[in-house]
């Protein structure tokens, strides 16, 4: 496509962040050395090493859990609920005060566009703390049974796609309900969690209430399997979710899992096409498609297929792929070489299985990990790209003729996290939403999140909810995790 206008670079300054050459673990209110071999975290847009981060071993995790237990028994558990709430309000405000710093650091470490880290990740993280702060002294009215009590120590393992936001989804409800936390951030994106540790110190949060143990899979396993952990919360792949469910089998540990997805985004022929196309783009290319609830299967009514695809391709042609810190960037870097390899593999399988791959002409930076926005047409429901979670900017397009067929195809997956419906007809929205086996259904929008709105999956997308009144149950004794 001819460029009528070139955009001048509009880079956000990275001078606002001060990345230390190395980071320790945050245990009992202090940064301490880890016992394992440190690992490097890189900027996926440039492959530049940002910092060296400690690896927590099983012994380190044990120290963290003991600190969390002490804090739970002596300080955080007995504390007046209103005071727990006030600490969370403080954290929310500190996140807002330091929002730009968090946004730049997130984009550096994760590769996501500054537009998203600035306008979505960080504000939503602050909102989650603000929302849950208010719950701390109102749990008796949450409808989760009389005198709800915290579980104790929560072990939480979070993914790399929304590092700070996933931290907020885990830490805010755990603390509001009176639990203490041992959190394991993803190994490719530990930096905003470590900056969050500094926020905890600025808030004078009592030592041991939040402990952050960095590392890879072994560290996460040590957190999940530690005997004195009462609650395990995990967001990540269905494969790891299965292993965690096996690991906690036969224990007293309460478990919530937020796993993979293969969401259907259903476009009916009466949908406003331009608005739907924006939603399709937002559904699959938001955060480079590194979104468990991404609208990765477009189900479009046959009669408008050609019109939708033409419009979609035109729109994708205007997406700007590149420097995550550039304020005009729409699609940033793939988070890691490993993830890029998986996206490439599945994309190539799509071609090999007979689907038609389309990518816009776009220049990708020389260094770093990049994958252009990709659309597959002529996809059959049996194709791997229609069944497997790609977790990248790859859209598979299927068609349908009747609402029944749309519902059958949408539900034809082992996952059940989210879905989208595009139509002008309100009654149709509700009728289709009723029949979709998915935990979150967006109508005439996609990838919307709010701390008041419960999020979580059906089927193999996991169990338990995060956010809203329902999310509190995951951290309270007796209350079921739904």
């Amino acid at each position: 496509m001819t460029q009528l206008f070139d955009y001048a670079p509009a880079p956000e300054s990275r001078s606002i962040v001060d990345v230390a050459p190395s980071y320790g673990l945050f245990l009992d209110g202090e940064f301490v050395d880890g016992s394992g071999a440190p690992f490097k975290t890189i900027n996926p847009a440039t492959e530049e090493v940002l910092s060296e981060v400690a690896t927590g071993t099983a012994e380190d995790v044990d120290r963290a859990v003991r600190a969390a237990r002490r804090a739970f028994t002596r300080v955080w558990g007995p504390m007046r609920p209103a005071d727990r709430g006030k600490y969370l309000f403080r954290i929310a405000r500190l996140l807002q005060e330091r929002a730009r710093e968090f946004a730049v650091l997130e984009s550096l470490d994760n590769g996501k566009p500054i537009r998203e880290s600035r306008d979505v990740d960080v504000p939503l993280a602050a909102a989650h703390f603000f929302y849950h702060a208010g719950w701390a002294d109102k749990l008796d009215w949450a409808g989760l049974g009389p005198g709800p009590r915290p579980l104790g120590v929560a072990g939480q393992v979070i993914p790399w796609n929304f590092p700070l936001l996933m931290l907020a989804w885990k830490v805010a409800p755990a603390l509001a309900t009176g639990n203490t936390v041992v959190l394991k951030p993803a190994e490719t994106t530990p930096l905003t969690a470590l900056l969050f540790a500094e926020v905890c110190r600025q808030a004078d949060l009592p030592p041991g209430v939040v402990n952050i143990v960095t590392g890879a899979g072994d560290t996460g396993r040590a957190v999940v399997e530690h005997e004195d952990v009462d609650k395990v919360a995990f967001t990540g792949s269905t494969e790891v979710g299965r292993a965690i469910a096996r690991a906690v089998a036969g224990t007293r540990k309460k478990l919530t899992l937020e796993l993979g997805g293969k969401a259907a985004n259903i476009v009916f022929d009466d949908a406003p096409i331009d608005q739907a196309v924006e939603g399709i783009v937002q559904g699959i290319f938001f955060n480079q498609g590194h979104v468990c609830c991404a609208g990765s299967r477009l189900l479009v009514q046959e009669s408008v297929h050609d019109e939708v695809i033409a419009s979609l391709q035109r729109r994708i042609g205007t997406l700007r792929v590149g420097d995550p810190l550039d304020k005009n960037t729409d699609v940033g870097a793939i988070n890691s070489a490993e993830q890029l390899a998986r996206i490439r593999e599945l994309s190539d399988i799509g071609v090999a299985e007979g689907a038609h791959r389309w990518q816009p002409a776009c220049e990708l930076p020389e260094r770093g990990f990049w994958f252009p926005p990709t659309v597959f047409t002529d996809v059959s429901p049996a194709h791997r790209i229609a069944r497997d979670e790609v977790f990248g900017p790859v859209l598979s397009v299927l068609t349908f003729r009747t609402p029944d067929e749309a519902v059958a195809k949408a539900n034809n997956t082992t996952y059940g996290l989210s879905a989208g419906i595009w139509t002008e007809k309100g009654s149709r929205i509700l009728a289709i939403a009723d029949r979709l086996r998915a935990g979150v259904v967006w109508a005439n929008t996609f990838n919307q999140f709010d701390p008041t709105s419960p999020f979580g999956g059906y089927k193999q997308s996991g169990y338990g909810r995060e956010g809203g009144r329902h999310g509190l149950a995951a951290y309270l004794e007796g209350a079921d995790s739904k």
Binding site: A127, G145, A245, L430, A443, T452, G456, Q460, K482
Partner: protein
């Protein structure tokens, strides 16, 4: 009945997809009363019977979960009405199987029927109690509602053969799920009779499937079955519960763990057996002119 009349005895069979088949395996096992006297030869359900039951339960799910909550409530209430008519038979079976005095057996049957009525009344309240509107920061009417999880495998309690069974089955149904139940192994007769009640109570075939047999044998097949969405381990043998939970992890099943000891089923259950088999669906509906 004249004292010299020879009684007509019943053949105790499975209840699958609205019919009463024998086990496809041809197996039966001897059921005795609490003192060891012969009561019946019960069908000894096999892996194949369990798989057939899952197919039936899956097939029945759309209609049962799609029925209005009011309708489900009425159908379940009808079950209690028919149970009441079988009161004497249940008392006899519970007394024999559990070795209870007739007054204690009567109390257990009374409690079981009352428990069923209690759950029948829940069907059209769950949405209001567990759902709600979420005040999101945007132009959306955002609401969350409970929905049934799907096909639920239920390993019924081993000791409490009717009250225990009702306490685990009725909440699964009230939420709109369909069920595959493995009865108490040693005390299966009230489960068979309950199947006959269900068959004559407007509960669509396949909504409840009752297998008599050994939870230790059939449990693992149900726990790892990909088309089972959740499993209640209430009656799992204590030394097998962990293995069953591990198997269930393969398809991310919802698992309701067993209590260390079989609980007192007469206690108020609250929502503890309803919510584990309900999903929360959140819908973002646009607002605009």
């Amino acid at each position: 009945m004249s004292p010299d009349r020879l009684a007509v005895r019943k053949t105790y069979k499975l209840y699958v997809n609205g019919a009463f088949p024998r086990s496809e395996s041809g197996r039966t096992y001897e059921v005795t009363d609490a003192k060891g006297a012969f009561l019946a030869n019960a069908a000894w359900a096999s892996r194949k019977d369990a798989r057939d039951a899952v197919v039936a339960a899956r097939g029945a799910f759309a209609k049962w979960s799609g029925a209005t909550a009011y309708n489900r409530g009425q159908v379940l209430y009808r079950v209690a009405e028919v149970m009441e008519g079988r009161h004497a038979q249940f008392c006899e079976e519970v007394a024999a199987g559990e070795g209870l005095s007739s007054s204690r057996a009567r109390a257990a049957v009374d409690a079981a029927i009352d428990r069923w009525v209690w759950y029948a009344g829940w069907t059209d309240k769950l949405g209001a109690v567990l759902g709600g509107a979420n005040p999101v920061a945007g132009p959306y009417f955002d609401f969350s509602l409970p929905e049934p999880t799907g096909v639920v495998a239920v390993l019924a309690p081993q000791r409490s053969s009717l009250l225990g069974l009702v306490s685990v089955l009725a909440p699964v149904l009230a939420g709109g799920n369909t069920a595959v139940v493995v009865s108490s192994k040693a005390r299966p007769l009230p489960a068979v009779t309950l199947g006959e009640v269900l068959a004559t109570s407007d509960v669509p075939g396949g909504v409840v499937n009752l297998l008599t047999g050994d939870a230790a044998e059939i449990g693992p097949w149900l726990a790892e079955h990909d088309d089972v969405d959740a499993i209640d381990l209430a009656g799992a043998p204590a030394d097998r519960a962990m293995e069953l939970e591990r198997l269930a992890a393969g398809s991310i099943k919802r698992v309701l763990r067993p209590a260390p000891e079989e609980p007192d089923w007469s206690a108020d259950p609250g929502l503890t057996r309803l919510t584990p088999f309900l999903e929360t669906k959140t819908v973002w509906h646009p607002i605009g002119l």
